[in-house]
Subunit: 204 residues, 2 copies
């Protein structure tokens, strides 16, 4: 398969690359490096990417920014970062990529556990992750030509503990290579409209 | 209790009014009628509302717009309506109302079933409803002074069948007075961070 990997240089992106490149042709995309460059917060930039890459079989996104901060101090602009970057950035990868993806292809987006298992400072991340879950379930039933869409919601990644560990005390981390399996399952499996919760389980 | 009811003239709003006004003082807010006027898509309008109303014990929102349309034809502006109106409109009621709500007060927002039980044309509604679920769970654990927040997710309302029935074939409707019970449970109960799914159940 010809797979576009958005966020290829990130912690999860590198692990997805290592997993999928064993069997597939990976087109690596980052903001400033890789085979092609794109900023997912910019629709024109996404459109240029698809114009450059042409047809593809799968798109995997492992990227997206949100602001973390105390709820009582959150500004409109800080909420807007998550909405325009991690949420609509990934949604636009789907809506703009739909005309270029081959029949039977797949989109795989990334959320995270905070909408079901919240932490302090994480209200925007929780909102964005919940929005991604709703979008993926809603979009799955309208996909044309057998195209599928799933969401991977990994728990905290071991390699990211130096940066995020203090926010996730008591949460068991998983190595990025384990999170990468969720993306392989989405791309190489047959399911659609699913949320793969990797390394965690719901309490409700 | 002194309760601000946003969307008081709507189908659900009227039923919430009938339920809660039996025991509480209701401040009715609509865009162009009621005791006070506010447009939830406009932060300045929300701020003016809180300046006019002063302290309150509970805020109930039963309103919010989203665009319905085929996924393949959805524009950025159409997604933006749901993000800025039903999603951030209700989020802003919370973040801007936090400084005026009394200790032990509550916020109750409204989503809907489409993020878990999607229909055609509903990708934006599914996204917005999922975002509201995530936000409510995330915000609940950061609420100061014992303030609570819950979400009511009603199924299709009988009184709205003339407008929405064709989109929800096979879905059992409930009368608005039944949906109103979810708001009473949120306002008069003690739970927080909960999603009250009224008239439906998850299949996962």
């Amino acid at each position: 398969m010809r797979i576009i990997l958005i966020g290829a240089s990130g912690t999860i992106g590198q692990a997805v690359d290592a997993e999928l490149s064993q069997r597939h042709d990976i087109i690596r995309v980052n903001r400033t490096s890789g085979d092609f460059q794109a900023d997912i917060a910019d629709r024109d930039s996404i459109q240029r990417l698809f114009d450059q890459v042409g047809e593809f079989d799968a798109l995997v996104s492992t990227t997206g920014k949100v602001h973390f901060g105390p709820l009582e101090e959150f500004t409109a602009e800080q909420f807007e970062l998550g909405l325009q970057n991690k949420l609509m950035g990934q949604v636009n990868l789907v809506t703009l990529g739909l005309s270029r993806i081959r029949a039977g292809g797949s989109f795989t987006l990334t959320s995270g556990l905070l909408n079901d298992d919240p932490i302090r400072l994480g209200a925007s991340a929780a909102m964005v992750n919940g929005g991604l879950e709703g979008f993926v379930r809603g979009a799955a039933i309208e996909m044309p030509r057998g195209v599928r869409i799933n969401l991977v919601s990994p728990t905290v990644i071991t390699e990211a503990l130096p940066a995020y560990g203090p926010f996730f005390r008591g949460v068991k981390p998983i190595p990025a290579c384990e999170a990468a399996l969720g993306y392989a399952k989405s791309v190489e499996g047959a399911q659609t409209g699913r949320v793969y919760r990797i390394g965690w389980s719901r309490d409700t």
